[in-house]
Amino acid sequence: MIAEIGLAALWLAAALAVLQLAGGLAALRAGENSDLAALTRPAAVLQGGLVAISFAMLLWLFAITDLSVKLVAMNSHTAKPLIFKLSGAWGNHEGSMLLWVTVMALAGALIAGIERRLPEKTMQATLAAQGFVALGFYAFLLLSSNPFERLPEPVIEGLGLNPLLQDIGLALHPPTLYFGYVGLSVAFSFAVGALLTRNVTPDFARAMRPWILGAWVFLTLGITAGSYWAYYELGWGGYWFWDPVENASLMPWLAATALLHSASVLASRDALRVWTIMLGVVAFSMSMLGTFLVRSGILTSVHAFAVDPERGSFILILLGLYIGGALLLFALRAGTISEGERFSIASREGALVVNNVMLSAILAVVLLGTLYPLLTEAFDVRVSVGPPYFNPVSAVFVFPMLAVMAVGPLLRWRRDSWSRISREMALTGALLLVALVIFGVVSQVALLPLLGLSFAIALGVASFLPLRGRNLRRVPIAVWGMVMAHFGVAVALLGMASESAFSTERLAALAEGERTSVGPWAVELQAVEPIAGPNWTAMAARMAVSYDDGEPIEIAPQSRNFWAPAQQTTESVLVTRWNGQLYAVVGSSSNDGRWQVRLWWKPLVTLIWYGGLLVALGGILALIGRVRTDLKRRAAVRKGAARRLEMEKVS
């Protein structure tokens, strides 16, 4: 019964998406006050509620492990802890697509419910675009990947969830990225709505901005968490592999970062109109492309749940339909959007344009590197593209962008002179130079990490310069957000550069009682013992590690065997100090009774993820600042209206 309620709610929601689309079209033809157009907002709100019910039903099915439902039987197991039963609901293809439309419909409901800044016609067109995008995903779910399908005979026990995915980080990682992708779909709908009604105004940018910021915060958190997960769960000691699936989340982030900055130009200065619309389309294209790459089975990875050509072509058709349609609309309408305000090169806008161009170039580099193996495979040549391509080529654009990042926030809008900020530029330049000399000449660091360390230090200081000479209590929250996010980039960069410049590694075969060392750490293998967990057994290597002859700490990395489904995983152990992390992995035993142990000492590596968190925190602060300004404005408008009413009464 639960499954049937979920399915019925999903069908009803799909019908409402059609109504929403029809309402928006009616608004474009007959004006915003026609009967059908007036239904657009209510349809969006109701649709959000129905999909939420549908998703709640799926969660319920997983919570009670209803083994008569195919999806539950294929992906769950009665012996799993409850949290992983629930996360199993989206740890598979069907459930994750349902999560996608759920978030999307809730976002649609939210803008339908509260967004009042834009002209009603533009809003209805925006909601129609949102309905159109959602409709494609409803069709995908209902026609080719129904999550509520029943089995003819209930099974006795489920197949379980891939043990690699049985992890709290993984329970949260996909929803986080989906919130990001879907936030960009809202930005896309706004862009299409604005194009359809030829209404590209600062108000449009202000309405779109919280959604870009929100999406961007979630993408940042998702990428940061995914990177940390890969770091400690895979046991390879790396935090970023330029894996196509990682790139699939990085590309929307790059586009969203560019969009965020160009939308702020449009909101504050009414410039970069066409460019902002274009980026809105590109950002969502990258989300769709990411979904396509990950979900179609074109790439094989832990992220690809099912290799099913039908589903791949379905997503490809959706991709072509939305992106092709949006680009066509863009080509037809872009010429009719009038030019925005002018500005000089030495201005905030000028710096943001450079930032946007650099981000787009990095996006192009990552996109080409990700698609290249797929292209050559069509000609039967198999290649893989990895760090030797991505690192140097993206660095060509990253470092100029970082330089502009240090200077841009100091400039004024519209027109400024370099001489006004010459002191700040000299300070940043001097810091950069000193760092280059210290790390390059004295420590002999290789080129890319050297640039990384030096730029990180210079940018870290420069990111606080916009606050100079200001009363800190009166600095708007959004400015704090910018400072925080820029500082976070510097912190993450310092972590990455330090990891690649100063890491040390030790690979050894140790008998029980033997010692080794890595960097400042002394390590003793004390014993290797078998242990058992709820659904696994493991060999745990008990080690005593001490930093710089200090107090020894006991750690026990494991090599784990799961039995449902049967699989082996490496459970690494991390010892975190303020100045870095010790990373320990145990392998198999050799015939003479020695155990393979792999150890890394990675100075400052944790800064990578703290930096990511700071960037996200900056986004959250900016979001709070923007929303507060909007609420204040609304209150002022209400007060003004009330006063006017009173005046009329009096007179």
């Binding site: 094989t300 893989s384 080529v393």
Partner: protein, 153 residues
């Protein structure tokens, strides 16, 4: 500068940067992409010594040996024809690495003809197989067909 001119300049700037990025990317891809070799291809047309490439094939049964340091292993990767490439790898073997199953080794060819692997990709579980290994079963089928048709012509 008129607004129209400014827009033109911006568009040109963006185009130049994007085309530049694309050209640079294509140039770098031609040099930096690491090519995939089967053992027979590596034997017939070996890559330059030191160039990063990938080698994929079956781990020959009985060839896996651990050297006396306890961490360096050597084994032979074989392909469809009677081709065998010796591989050396220092590190912890992937979880499901066994003799007689498929493997993709990332690394480079050393001057003595041994393949020095930095990284081994083996089958993770039945859902996660390195892309190059997906066709391994076809590979095996071809091998079987070849064996069973010997003498029939």
């Amino acid at each position: 500068m008129k607004a129209k001119h400014q827009r033109l300049v911006l568009v040109l700037l963006a185009l130049v940067a994007l085309v530049g990025a694309a050209l640079l990317a294509v140039y770098a891809l031609r040099n930096q992409a690491s090519y995939f070799y089967l053992p027979e291809q590596m034997q017939a047309d070996p890559p330059a010594v030191g160039q990063a490439v990938r080698l994929g094939g079956m781990v020959a049964p009985g060839s896996l040996e651990t050297l006396s340091d306890g961490i360096t292993v050597t084994f032979t990767v074989t392909g469809r024809e009677a081709s065998a490439i010796p591989v050396r790898y220092a590190g912890i073997l992937p979880d499901l690495f066994v003799e007689g199953s498929g493997v993709v080794a990332e690394g480079r060819l050393a001057a003595d003809g041994t393949f020095e692997a930095d990284n081994l990709l083996a089958k993770h579980d039945e859902n996660y197989v390195p892309r190059e290994l997906q066709e391994m079963s076809e590979h095996q089928a071809a091998e079987m067909a070849e064996e069973t048709t010997v003498g029939l012509e």
